[in-house]
Structures are given as structure tokens and as C-alpha cells.
């Protein structure tokens, strides 16, 4: 299976199911790749997969994809440790891969179940950008006869928030207000809690998410409002950014902008890093975690 096919498979995944997380799509694509792979040795397989991941992140440079890829690699290597015989190992891999996909497909509901209890009746919620998980949480809350209203940033440059409202939020009948990105500080004093999704959860327990998340977190901290993050566990990524500068460029900018080798100084970054000290709790399919628990999980996985 060559790059073109791989990319095609990836894009197909995204197309047929708009609700799917890019990481999941990537993993599916990779699984597909694995099935069709002609390699004879684990090492060979690993190399091919690495390249495949490279190409994928070439298409979509989001943290999610790379985290998904890494997870997949890890999963390969873990299984390969158990079984020596390659062919046996491979089918196990495929079988488990399916299982894995089935698991993570459940994760959003798990999160919603955990998180919606934190939304009290009559709550005012502030959220940022476009997150399917947040949507799921809000749906769950609405389903449990909670009355709440939502403020959402339009989140420039791509107006993701506006889109979000039009496509999703308007469906569950709760009052929704779109606010300027610049109005976060203004609105903060009247909201009860902040819920955002995440593209990636880094080892420090901080998150990488759509640009503007950080400022929202800072405001929330200043006003002592809880700042909740909802993210599936496959978004956990082995990365430890110290500050915004420390976040690799490949995440900050879109893949195509990176290709055009103009100087990035006048490019708008698409994501920013929010430090764990600003986060109250993370809701994952592994349960409700304090930021410090995230690294614990990653350690358990990779060490």
C-alpha cells in the first residue's frame, strides 16, 4: 500500500464519518496499512509504519494524528513482544487493533457520562472552538433535564465556533451565545465553568488546543472558575512543552503552510499550549484525572 492509497484511505475515513477524530481516522488508516503490508519482519513493519505516520502528519499536521500514530506504534511493539512468530503476531495485531478501535469509539460516551454531572442545573458554560467531545457532554447534560446556557467563542481565524453552533449546538435546544474571542475576559465573571476539548494532552498534564484556549484558561484562573478539559485518552501525546515557543512548529501551523517555506513569523499559529496549573480537571475515558495523573498514564504506557 503506497502513500497515495494510505492518504486516500485516511481522507476517506474523514469523509464518510465527519464525526470521527482525526487520530482515530489515522489509526484506522494505519490498521488498513498494516493489513496490506507485505513486510516479513517486525522491524520492517515498524519502519514502514513510521513512514506512513510521517506521510499522514504531512496531510494533517494536528497533534492528534501524531499521537494516534505513536499510540499505534506502541501498540505494535507491545504485541510484538508477546509473540515471536511474525504471521501469528500480525493477525493478533489486526484482531486487537479492531478491538482497540471499538474501545476508543466508546470513549466519548464514557467521557460524557463522567462529565455531565459537573454541569449543574442553571449553569452558564463557556467553551471554545469546535469540539465533538464537548458537544457530546452538552447533549448528555441536556438529556438529563439540566437547564444551562452556553457561551462559545467564535474562535478566529476559521470561525470554528460559529460553524460549531450552526451545525451542532443549535440542535440541542439550549440558549447559545457566540462571543468574540476578545470578549472572554468580559464574559468570564458570569459563567460558572469552562469546558474545552483538546487536540492533544501532553505529559505535563497540560493541553494543546485551538489558539485562544490558553487565554481562556488564564482568565478562568484569575476569576477562580473551574476549567475543565474533555479529551479521549488516545490524544495523550509524549511531549513536554515548557512554553508556547517550546511547542514544535509542525503542530502550530497547518501542514500546507509549513510546506510553503515562508517565514512563520507572520503566520498565525493555530494552537497554543495551556499549562497544567490552569486546568482544574481532565475528563478522559480513563476516568476523571487531575493533570498530574496524565503523566502517570503515559509513564505506565511507555516505560
Amino acid at each position: 500500500m503506497n502513500e497515495a492509497e494510505l492518504i486516500e484511505a485516511f481522507k476517506a475515513q474523514m469523509r464518510e464519518d465527519p464525526d470521527v477524530a482525526s487520530a482515530v481516522a489515522a489509526i484506522r488508516a494505519l490498521l488498513e496499512f498494516l493489513k496490506r503490508d507485505k513486510g516479513e519482519t517486525i522491524q520492517g513493519l515498524r519502519v514502514n509504519l513510521k513512514n506512513a505516520i510521517e506521510t499522514l502528519s504531512g496531510v494533517d499536521s494536528s497533534v492528534a494524528v501524531s499521537s494516534g500514530g505513536e499510540l499505534f506504534l506502541r501498540f505494535i511493539s507491545l504485541t510484538s513482544l508477546e509473540y515471536s512468530d511474525y504471521s501469528k503476531c500480525k493477525e493478533i495485531m489486526i484482531e486487537r487493533g479492531e478491538l482497540f478501535l471499538r474501545r476508543i469509539s466508546l470513549s466519548r460516551n464514557k467521557i460524557a457520562k463522567l462529565c455531565h454531572t459537573f454541569i449543574k442545573d442553571g449553569a452558564q458554560i463557556l467553551t471554545h472552538a469546535y469540539s465533538r467531545v464537548v458537544l457530546r457532554v452538552l447533549e448528555a447534560a441536556a438529556a438529563s433535564k439540566k437547564r444551562f446556557s452556553v457561551y462559545i467563542t467564535e474562535s478566529q481565524p476559521d470561525q470554528a465556533g460559529q460553524v460549531y453552533v450552526n451545525f451542532a449546538l443549535s440542535k440541542l435546544n439550549v440558549p447559545v451565545t457566540v462571543i468574540l474571542d476578545a470578549a472572554v475576559g468580559y464574559i468570564m465573571e458570569k459563567v460558572n465553568l469552562v469546558i474545552v476539548g483538546a487536540e492533544g494532552v501532553v505529559e505535563s498534564g497540560g493541553i494543546i488546543n485551538k489558539i485562544g484556549t490558553n487565554q481562556m484558561a488564564v482568565c478562568a484562573k484569575a476569576q477562580n472558575k473551574p476549567f475543565y478539559v474533555v479529551a479521549e485518552s488516545f490524544k495523550f501525546v509524549r511531549l513536554f512543552p515548557l512554553n508556547q515557543q517550546d511547542v514544535p512548529d509542525k503542530f502550530k501551523y497547518k501542514a500546507d503552510t509549513l510546506k510553503t517555506n515562508r517565514s512563520l513569523t507572520e503566520e498565525h499559529p493555530w494552537i497554543d499550549y495551556t499549562s497544567p496549573s490552569l486546568i482544574t480537571l481532565l475528563f478522559t475515558d480513563l476516568g476523571v484525572l487531575t493533570p498530574s495523573a496524565v503523566s502517570d498514564e503515559l509513564i505506565k504506557l511507555y516505560l
Binding site: D121, K145, R147, P175
Partner: protein
Amino acid sequence: MPSPSGIRTRGGPEADAAEGPRACARRRMMAARGSGRRGAGTGGARGPDPQEEPPPPLQAVLVADSFNRRFFPVSKDRPRVLLPLANVAMIDYTLEFLTATGVEETFVFCCWKSAEIKEHLHKSKWCRRTSSNKVRIVTSDLYRSLGDVLRDVDAKSLVRSDFLLVSGDVVSNINVSAALEEHRMRRKLDKNVSVMTMIFKESSPGHRARCQEDDIILAMDSTTNRVLHYQRTQELKRFRFPMSLFQSNIETVEVRYDLLDCHISICSPQVAELFTDNFDYQSRDDFVRGLLVNEEVLGNQIHMHVTAEEYGAHVSNLLMYEAVCSDIIRRWVYPMTPEMNFTDDETQSYTHSKHNIYRGAEVSLGHGSVLDENVLIGQGTIIGSNCSITNSVIGQNCKIGDEVILDGAFLWNGVHVADSVEIRQSIVCDEAEVKEKVKLNPHCVLTSQVVVGPNITLPEGTVISLHSPDEEEEDDDEFSDDSGVNKEENKVKLKGYNKAEVGSEGRGYLWKADDENEADEEEQRQSLWGPTLNPEEESETESDLSLGSEQPDSRTASPQLDDIKVFQNEVLGTLQRGEEENISCDNLVLEINSLKYAYNIGLKEVMQVLSKVVMEFPFQQLDTELDPQHYCVMLIPLLKKWSPVFKNYIKRASDHLDALSAIEEFFLEHDGFHTSIAKVLMTFYQLEILAEEMILFWFSQRDASDKGRQLRKNQQLQKFIQWLKEAEEESSEGDQD
């Protein structure tokens, strides 16, 4: 009321009778020293004594019927004790209270709608095997009053030792163990003199949970907690205290008006016996008053226990219902709060959140609906949008439309309220329906399945029921009203509903006549809602509506003349019978007492009437004109015979003077007999009915009319007085050496 002279002779303190209740709330008076005939209250000393046998298991008698019809027409559909109080039947609160306070066996006496009560209890947790409080149900349609119940208790000899006596509408979290301990100690110390300990709660006047009808003022001995005087204050502008209160050598008499009667009393088995002995005791009040008045005769005392911390109240009318309900919501009865779900009924599980908002399971609220504060919403209730609800209780499976305003509304189960309805301080019973744009003003009552509206405003105090008010007449003669009604279910809706009253789609009869007769309306309002806190509202008494316990004392203190006349004749009759079948004096006393209650005659009147009757007795025997000698001949043996009767009534200085004045009066009427007055007085004196100093004092009274002086001029009398004087001097000299 003691005549001032009585005080002067005793040199006691001036007890002003015309005193407002607030003024004499918790007011302390030292009793005057000197010759008080009352025995001192003994048994103040407490302390655990070594040989203490373990107390027997505590029993309770729960009277699940209030032998009156205050809750009509509500209680026509549902016995009073099952009325939901914050969505839980009253009787459950009472039982929970009993259980929590350590009662191990409870006898529930029901009469009206006993079947329903039985069924409820069987379903409840009280009849589970695991319940620590064994509930036994005793039913009979013959009970007409608390008295009957207790007589039955005595007859069946159900109670083995001290027991708790409560009615089925008491809500309380009091732990009586302390009071019980005191009670037992008392009985141990002074050999069963104290038969009952009443439990009161401290609460300042004007408190909402203090129902005016039940308001009492009482005098107690604050060292021994003995109740000395007990009086209902309703509609009394001035209170009267027997002078003896302050003359007895009880050091610390306390007059208290800051007490709320919890209607919980610890009784010894004697109480039941006493009820049996005194056929005329109907209510606990009769009992208390009876005991207090002829304490000497029966030699029993009543004590009291005052609690400051805990809560205790009894739902005697709808105002109290309202008050107690909101107290429950405001958690005064902790731990008996809605979310505690003490009835273990899964449909009764609530979550409690800020501002005392309680929500049952799957309650749904429309957008923009605000639950302001103190709201209880039962399971499965659906509330529309933009409603404002405050201080209200909503039952299970109610449907409430949009733009509804509920303020102090009490909706029971399955009530339907349409859009833009406004309900204030009203009660809507099971399955009633309120249609669009109806406005219920305060103190409205819609009994079950009534329908009102649309577009109608019910004036204040409207009561609408499916039972038509004319059902009343038949059972007005009944003593207990509740029992008579069973036969009437068949005769419902004999005439159509008045659309003007209940609205175009309405169903139900208006229970109060509108303008034509104010009085009835007043009665209605009062009988249901009871008097509100501002006194001018209560002008009528409900005496003729409810022949219940409140009846006698709801009259004003000074009885009308005709009463006295009747009373006099009765007394005369009694004495004649006494003469013929020569009944013992004690029984005579008892009868006279019972008459006294029946006609609510003050001691003073009794005194006068008695002496008058006795003096005139000879004429009744043979109405021929007889001369003084004959008269004396006939009178004196009578006096001798009945001297105990007199003694029983002539105790205090004032009594003496009353008697004397009565005698004087008699002689003034029959001036032919002036000569024999000396003899008569002599007899009285010798029989030690009248004290000499009293006679002297009477004689020396200057305010006598000229005829009076005439009388005093009579030389036999002069002699007699002279003689007395000398006697006194001698005695005083005797004292000197």
C-alpha cells in the same frame, strides 16, 4: 376573682387581673407567706437512687382522630391523619417521632375512616418485621372523644406503665427521655401524686406555629415544674388567676405565656383510670382542668416539661398546617426532613439543594422557571416554563403549565394546573384541576377532584368541595361529626354546580355562603383556617360548628345569667337527690363540679349559688310560710350534713366573703328571718365552714347597704359578733404567754 379585701387581709401582693398576655409572659411572682390552705408541691428533689429497676418498655397511645371537623370538607375524602404534610402523611411524622424517642409499642386508635388508616399503616414501614416500634391498631366507631379512647384503654388495660399520649397530627423531633426520666423520678419520690407530664415548647408570642386557638397561659411552680393553673387564652382580654396561687407557700410561682403546647403528654396508667372515673372528661383539657381544680379531692398533680431546643407542634387547623409545613421545609424538624425520607418510601426520595429546594426523582422544569426558596416538588411532576414558585409544596405527578405563579401553595398529588394560573396561600387537594387564568386568593381550599375555571378569580377564603354543604344538617346532631358522614357519599351532587362560583367547566359546590350571612362565612374560614395572627379577625367562635374540646373555653370567662339560673336549678336538683338518696358529699361535689364545667361557672358563682340554694332549701321542702325557729330547725341539720361540700368550696378568704355575702343577700330577701341569721352564722362557724375573722371582717364591712346595716343591728347578731370578738381576744392572749 378575689375581692381586694381578701388581699388586704392576707397582705399578699397585688395580682392585677386585667393584664395583657404579653405583659405577663414569663412573669415571676413570689407567693405570699402565711396561711395558705394548699399543700406545698413536694418532690422537687431529683437524683438517681441505687435500686433502680430497668424501666419497662415505653408504650404510646396515638389517637388517630381529632373528634371535631375542623378539616371539613377536606377530611371528608381523607382522614385527617393521612393528610399529606410535605407529601408525607401526618401520622407518619407522629409515628416517626414516637419511634425515634424510643417507644416500643404504639396503639393507634382510629374511628373515622379507620379502614383507610389501617391500610396506610399496613403498607408503611411501621408494620415491617424489622420496625423497632410495634404498631397495634384499635378501631371502633363508638369513640366520640379522647375520653372514650382512654376509657377503652383502661377497660382493655392496654398500658402497663407510663405511656405517651399523642394525637395523630403531632409533628415533633423532641426526645422525651429526659422528661420521662423526670416523670418517673417524680412518681418514685412522691408516691404517684403526679399523674401526667405535659410537654411544652418555648416560643415567644406571635410565633407563626403558635395557633391562637391553642394558646395557653399557665402558672407553674418553677422549682418542681408543677402546673398550678392552666387556661386557654383565646378571646380572653383579661386573665384570672386564683388568688390561692400566690398565697400558697410555693416560693416560685411563674406565670408563663411563652409556651407552645406540643400536645404530647407522658401519662401514668392512672390517667386512663381517672378518665373512667370521671365520665364527664371528654378532652385532655377537661382532664387537666378537672385535676387542677379539685386537686385536693383526687390528690393528683400535673407537671410539665419545657423544651427549648427541639420542635413540636400539632396541626389543629389549616393555618397550623401551613405553618408546620413550612417549618418542615425549613428543616426545623431535623432530622425529619424531606430528603431524609424517613418513611423508606422510594417514591419519596428527594435531593436537597440551596435555599431549601427539594426535588423528587424525574422532576422536569421548563426553561425560565425559577424555584425561589423553600420549595418541595414531588416525584414525576412536570413544570412548564417561566413559572415562579416559592414557599410551596407540590405533590407527586402534578402537571403545571407555563407562567404559573405559586406562592405558599400546597398542591397534593396529581393536581393539574393550567397556564398562567396564580395560587397564593391555598390548598389544592388530590386530583383537583385548576384551569387557565384562574386566580386563587389566600386561604382558598379545593378538595379532591374539584375543577375550577377557566378565567375566574376565587375570593379569599373560598372553599369548594364535591360534597355539597347541605349534607351538613343530618349529622349536626351527631356528637362526633366525622363518624356521621359515611352514609353521605351516595348523596353527592344532587344539585348541579353553580357555574358562577366554580367557572364554566368547574365541578364542585361552594362551601361558604357569600354575602348573605357573614357569620357562616366567618365560621367556615375559621373552622378551616383557624384564627389568623391578628386578633381582630377572630370575632366568631366555632363553638357551634365543632363540639370539640375547644368548645367550653371558647366562651368568654363570665357566663351569662341564664346559665347561672340553670346551674342553680341543677344544683338544687342534685342536693334534693342527695337529700333523698342521701348520696355522699364527695359524689355531690363531683356532680356539682361536672355541672360547673358543663355551664362553665366560676368558683365564685358556684359559691354564691350553693349557699343560696342551701339557704332556700327549707322552702323547697314545704312551701308553707314557716317561722324562723322552724327554719333554723330544718336548715341546721342540712348544713351539718353538707358541711363537707361547703368546705370543699370555701377555702380562700374570698370564698368566705362570697358565702357570707350570699347569706346576707338571702336574709335581706327574707327579712322575716333576720332573727335567725345569728344562729345560721353560728352553725357555719361551729362547723368550721366560716372562719371567725372572716365573719368579723364581713360584719365590719362599711360598704353595706342600709338594709345591710339594719341586718347588722339585729341584736342576736350583735351578741354573736361580740362573743366572737371576745373569743378572739382570749385566743390572742393565749398566744401571748
